[in-house]
């Protein structure tokens, strides 16, 4: 048994958790989320670089919430989303134990969010090299080129809403796309409607997205949708100085204001 498995078994045995959300092996060398409710099942648990999925999204599921004490295996992105969700008062009804594995391969267990916050702040992740490169490329394009780039991307969108489904910050019980009075976003997948959907998504996540990049990674047609919110986060940090998923009390940049906020374009 690995140290992780030992630790989780111990948590089950001493009654700290009654459900563990972690990863297990899947085909094509991938990791699939697994849900364990007994110490005897801990041998499935793995933690590899392939464990990219953001498990905090499951904390919104009614079936999961039924379990009273939840353990969650968290990579750094998941930790950040837990922090951001806490700052948005979304996790107050859940008794959770957060488990992570640091760079030295040590299993860490956090029983409260202050410790998670402390760990996140000490290990705050940078944008990946790939994302940095893509953002740079896009920002160096002319406006028309960027329009061309995104129109092509959005033309491919099929509105499967996987980007929404995997996002831990998309927790609304009823989404604007499901509203048909008025019909804000067309149900059919054509480019303008797709563009409006992604604009809306990016706006609703601006200043809340924690850059886990899941939406872009899992898009079945390969649209790098995460770049939209990643860029928004850069802008928000520059303009208003707030970081997402950094502090449990930070709130949400667009939910607040400062009288001295600066801009150049309002005449």
């Amino acid at each position: 048994m690995t140290p992780l498995q030992n630790k989780v078994a111990e948590l089950f045995e001493n009654g700290t958790i009654s459900l563990m959300i972690g990863y297990k092996n899947a085909i094509n060398k991938l990791a699939v989320p697994c849900f364990i409710d007994h110490a005897t099942q801990v041998e499935q648990l793995i933690y590899t670089p392939e464990c990219k999925g953001n498990l905090s999204v499951y904390l919104h599921k009614a079936e999961i919430k039924q379990a009273k004490k939840i353990g969650i295996l968290a990579n750094i992105a998941t930790l950040r989303s837990l922090v951001q969700l806490t700052s948005e008062n979304q996790l107050s009804d859940i008794e959770k134990t957060v488990i992570t594995i640091n760079a030295q391969n040590e299993v860490l267990v956090f029983d409260n969010m202050e410790k998670v916050e402390e760990y996140v702040q000490a290990n705050f992740p940078e944008y990946t090299e790939e994302d940095k490169k893509l953002l740079e490329q896009l920002n160096s394009m002319t406006r028309a080129e960027r329009w061309q780039y995104w129109s092509e991307q959005f033309a491919a969108c099929v509105k499967c809403y996987a980007c929404r489904a995997v996002c831990p910050m998309c927790y609304c019980s009823s989404c604007t796309v499901e509203c048909n009075q008025p019909q804000w976003i067309k149900v059919s997948s054509e480019t303008t409607g797709n563009l409006e959907w992604h604009t809306m998504r990016a706006m609703h996540l601006a200043g809340r997205c924690i850059n886990c990049g899941e939406c872009g990674r899992i898009c079945p047609v390969g649209i790098p949708v995460h770049l939209l919110t990643a860029q928004m986060n850069l802008d928000i940090e520059k303009e208003f100085g707030s970081k997402t998923g950094f502090s449990c009390n930070s709130g949400y940049a667009l939910n607040t204001f400062k009288p001295e906020d600066k801009e150049q374009f309002i005449k």
Partner: protein
């Protein structure tokens, strides 16, 4: 004489300042461009970005968004919230390659009838020079052509 392009401008304004300012422009008999259709909101804080998207989708060539000057909001802070949202929205549109020059953001108080008239004139002229907004229409043509004639996956 060649027909001059007359843009359709939609103005999203707050009830307390800009709408009153526009009213003042009217009662003062100030002459300004007739291209603008005004939509009145309780506050700039209520002007959702989706409304702007929908205006473009439904044929607007340009948009004016305007409300009370900072610190003058009837509801104390609606325009401060709106300002943050506009900053983010504008930079998102820019990142997506949308022509942000088609949207004019402004503060116009109830006393600034002349400023309002000038703003509409200036915006109309700018959009007139840019020509009609066709970016959305072109997108739809391309997809619908694809969908109904080429029947391809992407």
């Amino acid at each position: 004489m060649s027909e001059q392009f007359e843009p359709k401008i939609v103005a999203f304004v707050c009830n307390w300042c800009t709408y009153a300012g526009a009213d003042l422009a009217g009662t003062s008999r100030t002459k300004y461009a007739t291209n603008v259709s005004i939509i009145r909101f309780p506050c700039t804080g209520r002007i959702d970005f989706m409304l702007l998207m929908k205006a473009f989708e439904n044929g607007a060539d340009g948009i004016i968004v305007s409300g009370c000057h900072p610190n003058d909001c009837h509801y104390t802070s609606g325009n401060f919230h709106a300002r943050r949202r506009w900053i983010v929205f504008r930079s998102l549109l820019d990142f997506m390659g949308f022509d942000t020059d088609r949207i004019t953001f402004s503060w116009v108080s109830a006393a600034e009838g002349a400023k309002w008239a000038g703003l509409v004139d200036e915006t109309t002229q700018r959009i007139r020079e840019k020509g009609a907004f066709t970016d959305f229409k072109k997108l739809d043509c391309s997809t619908f052509e694809k969908i109904s004639h080429d029947a391809i996956t992407e």
